[in-house]
């Protein structure tokens, strides 16, 4: 007598599509796929209908038309005869330059503030806490607008800098004066700083379609060379230290290697400065000429981004430092390291591993927040491609798609680079 029965044959029933875990995930995925495709088709259909109703098409040809508008701050040659593509490129560079300057400055300021917040100096720690809380809890837009308004409404107009003969004879001083030995003037129109000029620049040679600026190449080559030489020097010093236990003095050699070739090159190229000078006789036309004029929109955006993100980064730095176990600094003190050396050699290298991942996302946010330049009419990517070009050509779909795509690519590149850096400093675990 045998009780062994055949295992029940798996007859496929429709209900198994939902109740059997083997098939359920496929069922759900197919339903999701169908819904997704239906949604996309619905959107696409609507778009086609709407475009047809408005007598429009999707065409990126407008990018090669003449723009007809000026951009105050352009890092590559641009005029109102250039194409919309060129305008978008100028805007992209303007976005990147604010993002880069903002990231660098806010990191420096943020690390200082974050470390000082943990200082055992009561007054300084309290001040830094107040700074962080005030800047973190108020919208970034407010800081941008306030900085812009302060620069453009409280600074004197260029005419206040003028010294007339009547004033010299009376011994009066003008209402406003330039800073840093008459080299920098902040007026209500912009910030005027000296411009570096070269009296003996190297020629620009044309290699096929690309024009090579030899001056720039020479400068970059000299800097790269001296940085490399400095690294060789430091590595050799480290090797000596490993072998003998004594580290040879390197600071003056480093300074020489880094500074001398650059200074020599600058002498060879004939570096001199063009200072901003007050010109114009009629009161309305008085303005600073010469040098570089930085628009307040750029200054306001950079300063506000720096101040705001410094407070955010400071919090990250503080959290990173506090994540280090107490035993680490205590062990360092027991070894006889001074507090500053403890911070540099023991705490910060370990804290860096905790700090970097959130720092990446803050750099990303900063880059995206440069689009707030719209509040001060800064012509970045959104101002050119997504602003004036969009309004002039009326091609919302194309401009917005292109702009979002570019922002997306920038974000992906930043996160890829920073993730690679993170992987390189991460604790190698076995």
């Amino acid at each position: 007598m045998t009780l062994a029965t055949e295992p029940p044959k798996a007859h496929f029933r429709l209900g198994m599509l939902i109740n059997d875990t083997r098939y359920r995930s496929y069922t759900i995925q197919i339903i999701v796929l169908i819904l997704f495709l239906l949604g996309v088709a619905w959107l696409a259909n609507n778009t086609i209908e709407n475009l047809a109703a408005k007598d429009k098409d999707i065409n990126f040809g407008f990018l090669w038309n003449r723009t007809g508008y000026d951009i105050g701050q352009h890092l590559i040659p641009y005029s109102n005869d250039s194409t919309h593509f060129r305008a978008a490129l100028v805007g992209l560079l303007n976005t990147l330059v604010v993002a880069l300057v903002g990231c660098i400055l806010s990191t420096i300021l943020g690390v200082i503030i974050g470390v000082l917040r943990l200082s055992n100096n009561w007054l300084v720690a309290r001040l830094m806490t107040v700074y962080i809380e005030i800047f973190r809890n108020v919208p970034l837009l407010l800081w941008i607008i306030v900085v812009f308004v302060v620069f453009s409404e409280t600074r004197p107009s260029p005419i206040d800098f003028r010294v007339t003969e009547a004033m010299t004879t009376a011994g009066e001083k003008p209402a406003a004066s330039m800073m840093f030995f008459d080299s920098v003037a902040i007026t209500n129109r912009g910030t005027n700083i000296p411009a570096p000029l070269l009296s003996r620049p190297l020629p620009t040679i044309e290699v096929g379609p690309i024009s090579l600026n030899l001056t720039l190449i020479a400068i970059l080559a000299v800097i790269a060379g001296s940085v490399y030489a400095n690294r060789v020097l430091l590595r050799r010093a480290a090797a000596t230290q490993e072998a003998t236990g004594f580290r040879p003095t390197t600071w003056w050699k480093s300074t020489l290697i880094l500074a001398v070739p650059f200074i020599l090159l600058m002498f060879a190229l004939g570096l001199h400065w063009e200072y901003p000078v007050l010109t114009g006789k009629i009161a309305k036309l008085v303005n600073f000429k010469g040098g570089i004029t930085i628009a307040h929109s750029f200054t306001a955006l950079t300063v506000a981004l720096t101040l705001y993100y410094a407070s955010v980064i400071a919090e990250t730095v503080r959290a990173g430092i506090q994540a280090i176990s107490r035993g680490q600094p205590e062990a360092a003190y027991a070894l006889g390291l001074r507090p500053s050396r403890t911070m540099n050699l023991v705490i910060l290298p370990q804290a860096l591993r905790v700090i970097i991942p959130p720092l990446i996302s803050q750099y990303l946010s900063l880059t995206k927040d440069t689009s707030l330049g719209i509040a001060v009419s800064y012509l970045d990517l959104r101002g050119t491609l997504g602003g004036i070009t969009l309004n002039q050509t009326g091609r919302e779909l194309e401009c917005m798609t292109l702009m979002m795509l570019i922002y997306l690519i920038i974000s992906l590149i930043i996160s890829a680079v920073m993730n690679a850096y993170n992987a390189s400093v991460k604790l190698k675990e076995r």
């Binding site: 407010l142 689009s371 979002m404």
Partner: protein
């Protein structure tokens, strides 16, 4: 026997040296513990002195009333403090506060946003203080008193005030006796707020609410037979059908039968902090569940679901919010069927919600990843299905870990509501302030409106971050 040269009683303890006690000791320890610290202290004190000496006269000479323009203010400051003195002109806030708070909402209807704002806290109470009866009833009482006072301040003692007193007295009583019942208020609040703020027929929100009833009923019928997922999806489908096809007819029919409604207020009357709160609260409350679903999708085993979630999250996180808002104002008209009329505030709320849902998803994903694998395996071993495991085991722990991140997303979202000014809505920061500063009477004013607006933002955001710290402390179950 006694030795005359040996003391028989103890000496009283000597006072510590002057440098080791009191204020001097504290200062030596905390301010001047070394040359570097001393320099820092002096520097900080100097900066502080500069700031105070700049700001104090300006604040002290502030004009609070009796001025209708900037020149009035200047005249008053000159008269009281001399010709060169500067003074703040808070009279501007006194004259224009209503624009900063309500935008262009009709003054005789201000009681509606005030009441809604008060009820918001009652609706939040069960969420904020789970079962804490004392805290809840105290919150309801205090908010009730403040609301009634604001109502009296806004338009005198009228029937709204009586209504509010009765309402809040009842709610406080419920909070004190059966705090769990307040959850009903929480669930009904969105519909009530919608109706209160925009007005119109009462049957619109009620029939919209009935859609959810349809969802629950269909789920109850289907779920026991075909499982939770099918139940939820058929329920959702039925509710969508209700909202799309039936709701309009039914609400119109009821409105014809039993006309009852409030004055309709169009969206372009909304502005100031009313607008910021409408967008902020709506987006915050929808983006959290959406973010949780996205996070689960991203960790799902199903390739397609995972790909779609990752694609959505990474796309949204890769573009600035401004471009999303421009999508709401410029592109949505292309994606929707022709002749669709769509309220701008609603469009903005949808896009802001999607934006912060992606950020919430990443925060929740962090919380999920931080859970040890054993928790998932234990849930499986207990025989719980996916949703039971998520609801009972995984989410309570994962959300607890992600509280700080979620709250900071919320804070970021609330601050980002100011960006709606770029698509033509009158937010308090740029929209209203620009209007005020463009007024010929208040030309040249800049610190005062920004300090006022920034101050309110600071209070709200700082409050939220403090609450998250309180919650973290309360939920902390490990012993370190």
């Amino acid at each position: 026997m006694s030795l005359s040269y040996v003391r028989t009683e103890m000496l009283p303890p000597a006072e510590p040296p002057i440098s080791e006690r009191g204020a001097i000791r504290w200062m030596r320890a905390n301010l001047f513990s070394g040359p570097f610290n001393s320099i820092l202290t002096l520097l900080a004190a100097y900066v502080l002195y500069q700031l105070v000496s700049l700001a104090w006269p300006w604040l002290a000479n502030g004009v609070w009333s009796d001025a209708n323009s900037m020149s009035d203010c200047r005249a008053i400051v000159t008269a009281s403090a001399g010709p060169d003195a500067s003074g703040a002109c808070w009279a501007m806030i006194r004259e224009r506060w209503h624009q900063f708070i309500f935008g262009f909402y009709p003054p005789d209807l201000w009681w509606r946003p005030i009441l809604t704002f008060g009820l918001l806290f009652v609706a939040l109470a069960p969420v904020l203080y789970a079962d804490n009866k004392r805290a809840m009833s105290r919150l309801c009482g205090v908010v009730g008193i403040l609301t009634v006072l604001s109502l009296i301040g806004a338009d005198g003692f009228s029937y709204h005030t009586v209504l509010a007193i009765l309402l809040f007295a009842g709610l406080t009583a419920i909070a004190a006796i059966q705090p769990r019942r307040l959850l009903i208020v929480t669930l009904l609040f969105p519909f009530f707020a919608l109706w209160m703020l925009w007005g119109g027929s009462i049957w619109g929100p009620i029939t919209a609410l009935l859609g959810f009833v349809v969802l629950v009923v269909v789920y109850g019928l289907v779920a026991p037979k075909l499982g939770a997922v099918m139940g939820a999806s058929t329920g959702f489908l039925a509710a969508c059908l209700w909202w799309l096809f039936l709701q309009t007819y039914i609400s119109t029919a009821w409105q014809a039968l039993l006309p009852f409604g409030l004055t309709y207020v169009p969206s372009d009357k909304f502005g100031g902090f009313l607008l910021a709160f409408v967008i902020g609260v709506a987006s915050i409350s929808i983006s959290l569940p959406l973010g949780i679903l996205l996070a689960l999708g991203r960790r799902s085993d199903m390739l397609l679901v995972k790909t779609l979630s990752v694609g959505f999250i990474e796309f949204v996180r890769g573009v600035p919010l401004i471009t999303m808002l421009f999508v709401a104002s410029l592109l949505l008209q292309y994606f929707l069927p022709p002749q669709t009329k769509f309220d701008l505030i609603l469009r903005v709320v949808i896009l802001v919600t999607l934006f912060s849902a992606a950020y919430n998803a990443e925060v929740v994903r962090g919380g999920l990843a931080a859970l040890p694998r054993g928790q998932y395996e234990a849930a499986d071993a207990l025989g719980l299905d996916y949703w039971q495991a998520q609801r009972l085991i995984i989410m309570p722990q994962a959300l607890k870990i992600s509280i700080p991140g979620i709250v900071s997303t919320f804070i970021g979202l609330f601050k980002d509501t100011t960006l709606v000014s770029f698509v033509g809505l009158a937010d308090p920061l740029r929209g209203i302030t620009t209007i005020v500063r463009a007024d010929i009477n208040w030309k040249g004013i800049y610190w005062e409106p920004y300090i006022f607006v920034g101050g309110i933002f600071f209070i709200v955001c700082f409050g939220m971050s403090r609450y998250s710290m309180y919650l973290e402390n309360k939920l902390k179950t490990d012993h370190r």
